[in-house]
């Protein structure tokens, strides 16, 4: 029973939600809508579990003085301070001049931008280290990368400005994006979408169960 009930609930709810895509009648649409809205509540409770785990693990590390414990202390202090300030400021925590907006503007915003900006450095080092032209295909890939990288910026266009329109880097880069890139992208999208459906079906029908539970 321990095994069958969850699998039955999974299958029943999953098939019901598939049905709701085709049946607009209130007999189906109202409960389906209720289930969708319930998900938000389930997730809200989940965040408590996650937060508790985060605090527990980091507190343990600090107490045991594990490697990098001062960073964990910063994390705990930041987490508690942000939550507390938000609670004290209440519903208007997003109004201008509050401490919460200060945290957003002066801490969160620059740190987020800085992390994203690291990407530029990593792209350069990855290009140097890993982009090896060992085969004809890799050569074609490198050529396409060259054309798109230069065609997407003013410098590439300025360098080829004297050439006829069709030979300029900008239109060539645009063609690569529009035709070969687009075709490959679509193929991956279709394959992945079918993979999504097949996985969904396996879980809903409980075919993954033996795998999940390790039972035969």
């Amino acid at each position: 029973m321990k095994r069958e009930l969850p699998l039955f609930v999974t299958a029943a709810v999953g098939l019901f939600m598939i049905l709701s895509f085709f049946v607009p009648h209130q007999v189906v649409s109202v409960p389906a809508d209720f289930l969708q809205q319930s998900a938000v509540i389930v997730v809200a409770f989940g965040i408590v579990l996650g937060g508790a785990n985060l605090l527990r693990l980091n507190l343990q590390s600090v107490v045991k003085r594990q490697a990098g414990w001062p960073y964990r202390l910063v994390l705990i202090a930041g987490l508690l301070a942000t939550v507390l300030i938000g609670l004290i400021e209440g519903r208007d925590f997003q109004a201008a001049g509050t401490r919460s907006t200060w945290i957003y503007d002066e801490v969160y915003s620059p740190m987020s931008s800085a992390m994203f900006a690291l990407l530029a450095f990593f792209i350069a080092s990855a290009a140097f280290r890993a982009f090896r032209i060992r085969t004809v295909e890799a050569g074609l890939l490198a050529l396409a990368a060259f054309l798109v990288m230069l065609g997407r910026v003013p410098l590439g266009n300025a360098l080829t400005a004297a050439l006829p329109e069709g030979l300029r880097l900008g239109p060539i880069a645009e063609w690569i994006l529009r035709v070969p890139q687009n075709a490959a992208n679509r193929a991956i999208l279709i394959g992945a979408a079918l993979g999504v459906m097949a996985t969904g079906l396996r879980v809903i029908l409980g075919i993954e169960r033996s795998y999940l539970s390790g039972e035969e």
Binding site: R3, T10, P24, M115, A126
Partner: protein
């Protein structure tokens, strides 16, 4: 023996799958919302005051009001159409717009539903006050600076009826049923034959065990990153399914496993998956509940935490399976710098180039979804892969047929495939 945790995980997975936002919310379906905006309020009596000499007169009324039940919905909307008032012209400021009035009796009392601008000759009444299977009558009043003129005639009785099937979704139903039939057929077939159907070698999946083996030799942990999206993303579901197999292997090799997770629901499922893996390997006592950590749903906070684990704990194997965005290269390049063997897999096509360049092995798109079937070798699961492959052939045929028909100017197939 199935653990209670694994059963809970199955239920959570099912619930998560079931409650994904559906692209199928029918118009007018009962979503609890406050009443609609109604403005401006109508005057108590819709009788135009007698125009003062030289003042703008009241507009002449609209004509020919008709109604139609909105098809393929839950009976919560009606379509209205009318002929514009002769005063509804660009250059005469006599008419400003129309009030849509509704009543349950032809004689009133009339309630204002909404107002529409001048030049508009149709309206879809999907206000929350509209009930299905209730008889309504409608009237359109023209208004302007000179006053309000009710329409001479009314339309009705109009009834919004709930439908049992959305007819614009026939194509989706047919293709879905076909897909389900293919998958179930091949599953049945595989079970009947009892032997594993052929699946081509996928080096990326084979490399997972190799990577864990290397981590064991070096006496260092394995890092498993299940993507940065919540459980409503199927890649996360697939990644968590593969996680159990990875946990089973690490348990077998007695190698520590670290799983940082972004969202709370995948976090609880990941805990169950790892516990299940250790149980299945026959080493439940080795399971460390702290091996799965909740980090943050915030993308770059998560990156900072994971790169921190890479640099401090120096795992010898990094496995990135799931949905990834801008963090893919940040993780993979930092991982490379630590010298770890890296296996990645995602269906996010725009992140694939980064993983291909920075990792040792990459699962591309659907290979990620084939991972659990490939790893387990379970005939039923491999059968589902064959079903998906056959469906791909059907889609290819449809794409080709669509190209030919559209080129010939025939739009029937495209129209059949379009949904509402």
């Amino acid at each position: 023996m199935l653990s209670r945790g694994a059963a809970l995980a199955v239920a959570l997975l099912g619930l998560a799958l079931a409650v994904r936002p559906q692209p199928a919310l029918a118009q007018g379906q009962a979503i609890i919302v406050p009443p609609p905006v109604i403005q401006p309020p109508p005057s108590a009596a819709h009788v135009p005051p007698p125009p003062a000499p030289g003042a703008i007169p009241a507009p002449r009324p609209a004509r020919g009001l008709t109604w139609k039940d909105v098809p393929d919905d839950a009976g919560r909307a009606l379509d209205l159409a009318w002929t514009l008032s002769p005063d509804d012209t660009l250059h005469r400021p006599v008419l400003q717009g129309y009030y849509v009035m509704r009543s349950e009796n032809p004689g009133g009392p009339w309630t204002l539903v909404d107002s529409v601008a001048a030049g508009v000759s149709g309206y879809r009444d999907q206000s929350t006050s509209l009930q299905r299977n209730v008889v309504y009558f409608y009237r359109i009043d023209a208004y302007g600076p000179g006053g309000v003129t009710p329409q001479g005639s009314i339309t009705g009785p109009a009834i919004a009826v709930s439908q049992w099937f959305n007819h614009t979704r026939w194509s989706v139903l047919v293709l879905t049923m076909l897909f389900f039939a293919f998958v179930l057929f091949f599953i049945q077939n595989a079970q009947g034959e009892g032997k594993k159907p052929f699946v081509r070698r996928i080096p990326g999946i084979d490399a997972i065990e190799e990577a864990i083996g290397r981590a064991t030799e070096m006496g260092r942990p394995v890092l498993y990153v299940p993507g940065v999206q919540d459980i409503d993303e199927m890649q996360t579901v697939q990644s968590l399914i593969v996680l159990e197999s990875v946990a089973k292997t690490t348990a077998k090799y007695e190698t520590p496993l670290k799983v940082p997770v972004t969202y709370p629901i995948p976090f609880t499922i990941a805990q169950e998956m790892v516990r299940g893996g250790y149980l299945n390997a026959g080493r439940p006592e080795q399971y460390d509940p702290d091996s799965v950590q909740f980090v943050s749903p915030e993308q770059f906070a998560y990156v900072a935490a994971v790169t921190g684990i890479m640099l401090r704990d120096r795992p010898a194997a990094h496995i990135f399976l799931g949905a990834f965005f801008a963090e893919s290269l940040l993780l993979a390049e930092t991982g490379f710098a630590t010298g770890a063997i890296q296996v990645a897999g995602t269906a996010n096509a725009n992140q694939l180039p980064f993983f291909v360049v920075a990792c040792d092995y990459t699962l591309i798109g659907e290979e990620l979804f084939a991972a659990s079937a490939y790893l387990s070798g379970e005939p039923k699961l491999v059968g589902s892969l064959k079903g998906a492959d056959l469906m791909k052939l059907v889609i290819l045929a449809l794409v080709l047929a669509g190209c030919v028909l559209e080129t010939l100017g025939r739009h029937g197939l495209t129209a059949w495939l379009s949904t509402q």
